[in-house]
């Protein structure tokens, strides 16, 4: 048996051996009933003295992990012998025993570098959910899927040999050329050489983070913000500082003061129809933010999936369109608006920031699949403009319907601001409302939503939630919201009622 010993350590060798063995026994790596190597064998294996091993085994026996008897050797005790099993019912016990017996129990001792991702936890499919309002997406029937499939088919069957080759790490040049035209119409002059095609915004954020963000680097984000971005920056060990928002977006005044103390490495923002709040950053604030980045020589990561989805006026120009000095990495997703099944986004950057991102992309996956890139190209070139006009009207109709239902079934203390575009509506609920209970009851009643806590770095237990008003059909949206309002009403803390008096359960 191998045990790694630190010979120079202040922890005595027999303690090191005992601790390691105890860990392995407790984690199930060494199973109950296993005979430990003899003292003599262990002595030889580890190159230590007989006394050291004997003392280690005595320690393990003292804490009742093993049983030793003269002539028979030392055995790991059974789970039943080790644990107080009182208060544990039969089922729980069976489950525990089952767990201990899985052959990959040893994996529990395998260290990883992954903070538990939040996103993952909130998207478990729940069979009883009839109205799925938790996911920020567009109802499949509204998306031009058939057109995209047809154009992919046309392009790829005309040139099958293209699909048979690895594409460029940076992304298909023709698609980037198409994007150049698309962005130019939106006031963003950019050549294909400055673009990097990524597999959705999520990968774009991840590439920026793995390239430029490391342990202790300061990253600013809006509070609340996109759950998936929190996961990424957390996984890089960043020091995340969140900045409150008001009706004009991120509070740049607060950000500036914070930057004096904690100079930023990167500022992540969703300036337009922000996820989850729906707020749009004013043109003035955008200019201030860019200015700040320039004086601190830090990057802005501008995540812009919704800019085309305005309901009346188009939003202020992107921060990127004002950026003459390469401080902004701009990511435009086409996943949500066109095809979640294709997962295509475009990142724009300059200078060495771009080349470093391309290198990161090559390490991550050698470049995005050509097929999905080709699928979008022709549609964006020829049909996107007319499609998006119809889509906006459709989405706006849903927002108005959602607003009507919410007004009608409004619960006192609940409020919201209607967004001027995008997919998300942020509901503030009365303080003191038990959000966990609301979520549980709402799911049981068939309605899913994203709890506001998922959008905060510290997972503050805020009385807020996000619903997406575009993901179901109009009827489902209205019914779902009615059900949700009913559940909120039910869970509401009543003045002088019983819910407020509950004692905490420890």
């Amino acid at each position: 048996m191998h045990i790694e010993l630190k010979r120079g350590s202040s922890t005595k060798l027999y303690i090191q051996i005992a601790l390691t063995l105890a860990d392995r026994i407790r984690s199930g790596l060494i199973e109950p009933g296993t005979r430990l190597p003899s003292v003599r064998k262990m002595t030889a294996d580890l190159g230590v003295s007989l006394v050291t091993v004997s003392k280690a085994y005595a320690e393990l026996e003292a804490i009742q992990l093993i049983t030793c008897s003269q002539g028979k050797g030392c055995y790991v005790r059974g789970a039943q012998e080790m644990e107080q099993t009182e208060g544990m019912d039969k089922n729980q016990q069976a489950e525990r025993n089952h767990d201990n017996n899985t052959p990959w129990n040893w994996q529990m001792a395998l260290v990883d570098y992954l903070p538990r991702a939040q996103l993952w936890r909130h998207f478990d499919a729940s069979p009883q959910v009839q109205y799925e309002l938790h996911m920020s997406a567009i109802q499949p029937e509204l998306l031009p899927t058939t057109e995209i499939i047809n154009s992919a088919y046309r392009l790829s069957s005309d040139h099958p040999e293209r699909m048979a080759a690895y594409g460029s790490f940076q992304g298909d040049r023709e698609l980037r050329q198409t994007f150049a035209g698309h962005f130019a119409e939106r006031g963003l002059q950019v050549v294909p050489e400055r673009m990097l095609i990524t597999s959705g915004t999520q990968q774009g954020i991840d590439l920026v983070a793995r390239t430029f963000v490391g342990p202790g680097d300061v990253v600013y984000m809006e509070a609340p913000t996109y759950t998936g971005a929190i996961d990424v920056f957390t996984s890089r060990g960043a020091k995340i500082i969140t900045v409150p928002m008001d009706g004009e977006g991120m509070r740049i005044d607060l950000l500036t003061r914070l930057c004096d103390t904690y100079p930023p490495k990167l500022i992540y923002t969703i300036p337009t129809y922000h996820n989850p709040t729906g707020v749009t950053m004013s043109a003035r604030r955008r200019a201030q933010l860019l200015n700040l980045a320039q004086s601190y020589h830090c990057l802005i990561l501008e995540d812009d999936p919704f800019a085309d989805l305005y309901f009346r006026d188009s939003p202020p120009a992107s921060i990127k369109s004002m950026d003459a000095t390469g401080h902004v990495v701009y990511i435009k997703s086409f996943s949500k608006v066109l095809s979640p099944g294709c997962r295509v986004a475009c990142a724009i950057a300059e200078g060495s920031v771009l080349t470093r991102l391309v290198a990161a992309k090559s390490t991550a996956d050698l470049g995005s699949p050509l097929l999905t890139q080709k699928a979008l190209q022709s549609f964006i070139q020829h049909q996107y403009s007319s499609y998006i006009v119809r889509l906006r009207e459709e989405l706006y109709a849903r927002l108005q319907a959602a607003s009507d239902v919410l007004e009608e079934y409004r619960v006192p203390g609940m409020y919201w601001v209607l967004p001027e575009g995008g997919l998300n509506l942020w509901l503030q609920l009365p303080d003191g409302l038990d959000m966990r209970e609301l979520h549980r009851q709402s799911l049981a009643a068939g309605v899913s939503f994203l709890p506001g806590s998922a959008c905060y770095v510290g997972e503050t237990d805020t009385a807020s939630l996000r619903i997406c008003f575009t993901v179901t059909n109009l009827k489902g949206l209205c019914e779902g919201l009615r059900v949700l309002c009913g559940v909120i009403q039910k869970v509401m803390p009543r003045q002088g009622g019983t819910t407020a008096d509950r004692l905490p359960l420890i």
Copy 2:
């Protein structure tokens, strides 16, 4: 202007200001000709005394970075004034000035976490290359691209709504079900729940690394090995230890001895038709390797893109097929064999190793595109078996042709072992041959190859190279190899000749 000052520092404030400004001027952030803020303005901006700013400016003037004159203020001096320009020709000077003037020059001061990726450097498109033998891939005409496009079209136009939804993080269930049948035929019994679809092998390796490998963790690899895997583990800050190979694959005897001193966190291997050497690990060594992983409680990452491409006998069973304890993460790529344009691979793992990889995938990109997953499903189900038989014959014919040419044009001191499957042929060249010169001349003559040094962690300047015998057509392969042999002949160090006598150029 903002300057971050450390008030408690032992460096005086005026020195801090002068140093910061000097940095900004030298890096081009503050351009030549810029007027610095007045002493009074700077005093107010920084909250320091007039004297402090005056002394800082005086310092900058003393080292000739700025010029100050009474009443006019202080200006940053021009590049010509700052530098000794003697010995620099006009072109160089123009280039320098150009560089200094790019608005994103500040980015050079932006720290990143990206070791320079090797892969990236070796795949620059070179217009003069007629015979591209550097890339490990299959000639596009041999791939079933049309069939795949047709089946993607059929599946997706029958169910357009599917393409319009985000898929599962873990990958499309139907595709995983199809893979289960595929693996079962190959002696690997695995349920869909244990699979994770990734965007090619590269992403699979990257996900394993970002989850389980961190700074200082010991990763073992074969030497030589796949360039892209080196990049990934290097980027995680791993301590990479390479293990020599012989005709039976990785030297497990050496590995075992190394593990005593440096316990492994992960062992990366390509056991079948290894990239770049083509060697296959024996069944005995596979069992030993698994045994070793079990006793060290470490992971094996088994990268297996070529197993179906055997020329006569099928290779030994995969290490994964012997793994009852979840020590092996197995990655099977379908990119090379079916469609580089789809970038689909399947990772197999168990227990918490699998769930942690799925969490990492959700952070990396929310799951692979559905379109590319659907594209492969029907082909693998119905046509793969007959396709692969034909493909094997075709590839084997190329290997034989390559062997014939190499025998005919063989240069003394050059040797190789014909692989029993796969795409790669590893050529050993005479020691002392100038590999850089060979590469330069070979590219100039129109033939690309992968220099052996790209496949070593330390980029040892080994006299070896990898060619892919399946990436061009038969004629191109033979012509390319003839040209390459000619260039090798030319660059060969001659006994008593002049090349060996060359003095190093410093």
